[in-house]
Each structure stands twice: as C-alpha cells, then as structure tokens.
C-alpha cells in the first residue's frame, strides 16, 4: 500500500510536471498581460535591497501602486535575469554592474533610458560613459567603484610614487622582519585580471582597442600583442621568481586578513574593503595605484552600479519613471551609499557624502583616469585566459608563451 499510494502521488506530481513543462512552451506575452497591474518588481542583491526598500515604498505610495523588491544573490543576478526575461517572468527593474549591458542587449533583455541633458550632466562623466553602449544610454548609474592603494601608515608613511618605490619600501620592511609580504594583491591559482589591470595598463598593455566613437572594438584584441607581452614581462619581474611582490598564494580569501593583521604594508583593493580595515584598527591612507617609473599611469577598471529597465517588464512606464526620476535623486544615492560605501555616481551626492567621509573623494580621485570595464559581450572571453596567463607569468613561466596562448584562446572564442 505504501508503495502504491506513493505511486499514485508520484504520478500526480509527474503529471503536473509534464503539464507545466508543456506550459513553458505557451505564449508568455499573453501571460504577462494577465498579471494584476499596479505591481512593479525590482531585482537587486541583498545589500541594495535593504537600501531600496524605503524608496520603493515611497514611490509606490506616491503613485498608488505596489512595489516589490526581490533579493537575488549578486552572482546569480545576471544569468537569472536573462533567463527570466526569456521565460517572460522577469522583473521591471534590475540593479547590477554596468558590464552586464552587452549581454543584456544581445539578449534583448533591457530597454534604453532617455535622460534629459541636465540629468545626464549631474552624473560623473565616467559613469555615464560606462552605461553608454552602442551610443545609447542603457541604464542609470548610481555608484562607481575602482581599485585604490591602501597603505598602513605606521609601516609606510609615504605614498609610493611608483611601483618600484612600493616594492622597495615593502621589501625593506620584509627584510627587517616587520612584515611577511611586500604587497597584498590578490592573484590566486587562476589569476585575477581585475586586480592586475592597473599594472598591466601602466606597463603599456590594453584589452580592446577603441573605435573612432570611443567604444571598445572587439576585433582589436590587445592580449597577445607585443605590447601585452612587454607588459607581462614587467609583471613577471614582480612575480615569484623576481621580486616576490606578486604571488599566487595570495588570493581573494586571504589578502584582506594579511593587511588587517599588519602582515603587509600595501593593499590593492576597492572601497568595499575600507570598512573592515577601519574595524581592524589599522592606520591607513588611500592613494591612487602607482605606475611603473618609466611607464604610463596605472589605470584601474571603473565599475558602475546601474539601474536597468527590463524590456520584458509588465510595467515599463512606471519602471522608466522610477529610473529617470527617482534614481537621479541624490537622496537615493546617499541612502545606497550608507548601506554599501561606494562613491555615488551623482556629483552632488558624492560631494555631500565626501564631507563626512574623506576616503570617498580619494577613491574617486584614484579612479579619475580609470577605464570603464568593457561592457561588450566579448569581454567574457577575456577574463579566464587572461587570468591564467597572469598566474603562469607570476609563477615564473615565459611571458611570451603564456600571453600568446591567452591571446589565441581569446580570439578563438570571439571568433
């Protein structure tokens, strides 16, 4: 009996499963129209959900509609949104990094936003540049982020003016036994393109060339070119067989504690690490990441947190209203800053919070010359091979071989 009743129950379940599977093939457009109107859905990660809630409620009350903010873990947000859009069950607004733009556009998942010129002018220029894709504005930015150099002022009172100076100071401290590591820069076994990029650009490397409109050009891949080999040769000098400043054993898991425990005088990281450094009671100072003595300026990536309007949303008019008129309000930017201290993209909001938080202005200044993270979908092909080439070079392998192989893997993928 046990078996049999379980059987009937199971078959009933199967039946529903089969039925819903078939239902998936149905016309999703119709289903969307049938949804009860007057509910706008926002997808964001857990940190931003908290800050958004009061504003969402206020917006809902002002317009007599219901606004729901749903939490999706950051690492799943991009793919979940694309999948949900495809199934016709996506949100009206999604909040996330600007480098998702290319992927969202090729999947038709987002709509452009039309901001009047005065509103555009209120934003940090790099932020606007970052969310512009193929000449269209595809989202409204609210915060920027970029890497900086944080130093322990007890160990290293002066900001190094070059990589060489940084290594010299760190190595001297290491020899004296004051610290264990010269520099805290996460590499890991698979490399970390985001964190090595400032050194790579300072040594003359680039990822994508830019076309005449200033957009990244996927047909001009900079990895594998002689410039990139030369850049990695400079990085190799800092690696395990060289100065020992860059090591694969330092990874995203242990780099923060190295600095917080005073085991390294320098830490290359973003604004997200500042609260923990403060808690650890380290006397610190923030400056721009230095470049090589005879090289170019070190340019970090600039990432921009963005509000996107979903193309498949049931409430596009309200979503556009929220994004164009609420997100452009400095108050929201400040509330989001208080939840997660990244510099606001609105100049007015940045000025206001900088008064109480001087670190923020230093972070923005360190990123003033930064490159927006490429938002083109081809960027996805860069991360993995580039990181591996970096790890290989740092471990002491031949830069030319590693970088050429990475360049080939990237161009093969882009096709």
């Amino acid at each position: 009996m046990k078996i049999r009743s379980a059987g009937v129950f199971a078959s009933a379940t199967v039946l529903t499963l089969v039925a819903t599977a078939c239902g998936g093939g149905g016309d999703s457009g119709e289903a969307a129209q049938e949804e009860p109107s007057g509910t706008m859905v926002i997808w964001a990660d857990d940190i931003r959900t908290k800050a958004l809630l009061p504003f969402a409620e206020e917006f809902g009350e002002a317009h007599g509609i219901q606004v729901e903010v749903e939490t999706i873990p950051n690492e799943d947000l991009e793919s979940n949104f694309v999948t949900a859009h495809q199934a016709g069950s996506g949100p009206d607004i999604v909040v996330g990094a600007h480098d998702w733009t290319g992927n969202f556009v090729q999947n038709g998942a987002i709509d452009p936003v039309q901001l009047p010129e005065d509103k555009v002018a209120a934003f940090n220029e790099t932020a606007i540049e970052a969310v512009t894709y193929n000449g269209q504005l595809y989202g409204v930015p609210y915060a920027t982020e970029n890497l900086v150099l944080i130093r322990n002022t007890e160990l290293a009172p002066e900001a190094p003016s070059s990589v060489e100076e940084l290594v010299e100071t760190g190595a001297a401290l290491k020899d004296e036994g004051e610290v264990e590591e010269i520099l805290g820069l996460q590499v890991g076994q698979e490399g970390d393109p985001y964190h090595i990029y400032p050194f790579y650009t300072s040594a003359g490397g680039y990822l994508f060339g830019q076309d005449d409109k200033g957009d990244y050009d996927p047909s001009d891949v900079g990895v594998g070119t002689p410039e990139s080999v030369a850049a990695f040769e400079r990085i190799a000098e800092l690696g395990e067989k060289g100065e020992g400043a860059l090591k694969r054993s330092i990874d995203s898991q242990n780099v923060a504690s190295l600095f917080q425990d005073g085991k390294t005088p320098f830490f290359i990281t973003g604004p997200w690490s500042i609260p923990d450094v403060k808690t650890a009671g380290i006397d610190y100072e923030i400056s721009a990441i230095p470049g090589f003595e005879d090289g170019e300026e070190a340019r970090p990536f600039v990432g921009v947190q963005t509000f996107y309007v979903a193309a498949g949303g049931a409430n596009k008019v309200l979503a556009q209203e929220f994004v164009t008129n609420y997100v452009t309000d400095p108050e929201l930017a400040i509330a989001l800053y208080e939840e997660d201290p990244r510099p606001p993209a609105l100049t007015a909001a940045l000025e206001q919070v900088s008064q109480s938080d001087p670190d923020l202005a230093k972070v923005t200044e360190a990123g003033a010359n930064g490159d927006p993270l490429p938002a083109i979908p081809q960027m996805a092909a860069i991360w993995d091979p580039f990181g591996k080439a970096e790890a290989a070079v740092i471990s002491g392998e031949d830069p030319e071989e590693a970088v050429t192989a990475a360049g080939k893997a990237i161009t093969d993928q882009i096709g």
């Binding site: 049999r4 199967v14 039946l15 509609i65 556009q320």
Partner: protein, 539 residues
Amino acid sequence: MFADRRNGAGAPGGAPARPPLPGGALAPRSGSLAGQMVKIGMLGLTTALAVWAAFPLYSAGNWIGIGVVAAVTTLLFYVYLSPRAIPAKYLVPGTLLLVAFQILPVLYTVSTSITNFGDGHRGSKEEAIASIEASSVVRAADSVDYRLTVAAVGDPATGDLVFLLTDPEGRVQAGDADGLTELAPDAVTTDPSGRITEAEGYTLLGAAEVSARSAEITAFAVPSGDGSGIRSSGLSSAYEGDATRAYDADCDCIVDAATGARFTADDERGVFLDESGERLPQGWRVDVGWDNFAKVLTNPSVSGPFFGILLWNLAFAAGTVLLVFVLGLGLALLMHTDRLRGRRVYRVLLVLPYAMPSFAMLLLWRDMFNADFGLVNRLLGLDVDWLGGEWTARLALLVVNAWLGYPYLFLVATGALQSIPRELTQAARLDGAGAWQSFRHVTLPLLMVALTPILVSTFSFNFNNFNAVYLMTGGGPFPPDNPMVGGTDLLITYTYRLAFGGQGAQYGYASAISVFIFLIVAVISVVSLRRSRSLEETH
C-alpha cells in the same frame, strides 16, 4: 497505509482463499475500506492536480499540453480502477517518473544540441526585431523636454491615448495619434512644475491605469511634424525622438534610417549581417543541425586535449573509488573487531566528514593546500606548491575527494559486515583458513555483493564530480601554452569552460558536449554493471 499487509496476510472473514496477488488491494472489490479511501483520495488528488495544470495551459492555448494532461490522467484512472492492469499498477509510477526526470531531460538536451541556443540567440526572430527597433530609439538632438501627463479620451481603460504636454516655456499641448493640438491655458490646471493636473475633455490616468496600459503607452508616439515623435520617458516626462532602425519585410532586413546601413537576415545563423559581415547584437534561435557536434570533433583545441583529459578523468574516478574503498572498508573492518573499545564514538567521528557540507570543506581544503599560508605546508614543514604543480594538485585533489567520500563507503561496509553471519568465518577458521584467507574467500565476496553497486555509482558520480574540481583547483594548474586545459580538468569542468567561459552561455554547444559525456558514462556504467552481475552469480 498498512491496509495491504492485512490483505496480503489472507482475506479476512472467510473469503474464498486465493493466491495473494501483488497489487490485489488496488483491484476493485478486494480492498479494505481504508485502502479504498486512500485510493479514492489519491485519484481525487490526481484529478485536482490535472485540473489545476489545465487552467494555465488552456489560457495559454496550449492544446498539446492539455492533451498530455488528459492522457496521463486517463491512463492513471484506467490502471488503478481496472482489475486487470495489475503489473501496470507497479510499473506506471516508475515509468512516468523515468519519462519526466530521465528521458525528457535527455531528449531536451539532444534537441537543444542541434540549435544555436545561447546568449544572443535565445528568442525568436520577431523578438530580436522588436528588441532591435526598441533599442534604436534615439532622442532627437534638438529635443525639448516636456512635462508629461498621460490621459485618455473618455474611459481611462479603453479611450484613445492622449499625451498632455507642457514645454519648458509653459505652453500646453495635447498630443494624440494624429498630432499636437494647442490647449488654451485656462482649460488646464497645472502644478508648480508646470505639469498638467486637470484638463477639460480628458480623463487623466492614474499610475495603476497607466500600468495596465503600459505596453500601449511605451509604443505610443505623438507625430511631431518632422518624421519623429514625442514619446514618454516614464510617467511624468516626454522627449522627442524616433526609432532609427526598422524591419523591412521585403528585403528581410533591418534598415538604419540614420546611416542607411542594411542588415540582412541570415536565417542559418540567426543574425542580421551588414555587407562587411558585422552583426547586430540581437540574434535569434535557429536549428544548426550537426554543427555543434562537428565543432566538438573538428576543433583541434577541443578534440586535441580530449584524450588526455579523458585519461585523467578515468584515473580520477578510479583513483577516488580505490581510495574510498580501501579507506572505507579498512576502517569498517577495524571497527568490526570486538576488542576495540568505544567503537560508537569512533564510528561517529569517522562519519563526520560526511556530515559536513562538501562545498565549504572543499574551499577549506583549498586554503589548507595554499603554498605559503596553508596548514598542510606549515604543519609538515614543507614548501610544496601543492595546487601550482600538475601532479601535486592531482594528489591533493584525490586526497580531499577520498576524505569526503570514504564515510559513505564506511557506513555501507559496516552495515554489510554486520549482516554477514559470524558462523561463516568461524566455519572457515575451523576448516583451517587463516584470517586473511577467510577474509579473502568468505567475507570479501559477500561484501562485494553489497559494495559493487556503491562502487559503480561512486565511479559515475566522481566521473562527473564538477564541484570537487571546480572548487578546489578550478581545473588548474594551467600550462603556460594553453589556458583552456588544466592539469586537473575533468571533461565536465573542461566543457563547462568551453561552453560558458568564453562567449557567455552557449547552451546548444554545451548540450552537444553533454551528449558525448552522456555516451561515455553510459558505456562505462553498462560495462561495469554487467561485471557486477557476474559477481552476483557467484553469490
């Protein structure tokens, strides 16, 4: 739920004796009242689920789906109400589950493998066109920023849409599908920002009403003379602009009005291409036949390292099975001796790794193998770059995987050992066999009957053990001359990188590779199960 036990024990109340048929309780007239009630309840639930499933299918117009629901329901009713279909009563639930969870996913994977489904090719051609057109709307260079109020003529839900606009100079206009009409300033009421809050002859739409007509309002444009239109940007502002790209069915192409460029549809690849071969980002899903399979077989960067990876993959799975077997069985035997005190405590301790979440453990182990800061090197006083060297990384991976896997085998072996009668080994001893001989010829063969299926499943599980490799080494270390193939890559981690690492998600390609892996694992499983059957025969 135990009604059948009474039935099976023999019909009560002097009913004619008949052989207790399997499934007899579900045959009409022979079941107890409780059994009947449960049956009716279950069938009722089935009907309820069917009806529940039918409504969304009906509203979506999916007649095939409704047909499937009806057929399955009918089948279930027939099987459980008919006195004849007794074997089917047992087979149907399992078969349906097999179809739903095994066969459908396999078929879906196979059907996906002949498409270009993936990022940039997810939807239909119509969706791609709609997206291209919507993305090409640009604000006119000299656009005025209007304050907007959405209104309708007559009924707010169905009346013709009207945009009530206030330009920066305070001029008020009404825009409908025909164009702009000037409004008399005294016919409207405005708020301090100049936005119209009341207008004679128009019904203003509230946010909920706007929301209900959202799609219509988004597509609405007031013709403003020079070919462009005034469009809404949210609820309260409007701008002048137009879509620069439009689909032309005659040439099956997208024409850009601003540059004059033409992007012609390529229905074989699912993209719009211009003369120079430049594609528009938005594509659509098309069937590509055997292309994905051909790509796996002919691409030298895929087929070249394939056998190397396969070899390590087999070694990894077999090595894990061997380590797990030796460790699990050895410990189980140790715990089986009566002389050991506190066996319960030891057993609990030994099973602990099984109770830990493997995700966290894998990451923890990875950190313990860190060359400079890891526990392993510090404890042993070594200076080994564990995860940086090909063979050390493989060794570390095997050790960790064995640590994670042995408790399961230990548990099964302990159970199996306890079920072997001690008389057997005692008899062997009496016949003059030594400890090793009695283990080798009496205990082990009996144990293997219970353990072989576990070993086979351990092998197939570890053959595709994505988590262990991905979290511990990420497939690395990678040789400098090839960033695509790492020293500890399994087929599954390697193909994951191929299909999802480069150009976003390529489900079609990933499915084609999955089909290959499926075939490999299927062959291995069939062969090893065949062999285990011969073992059972000896038993």
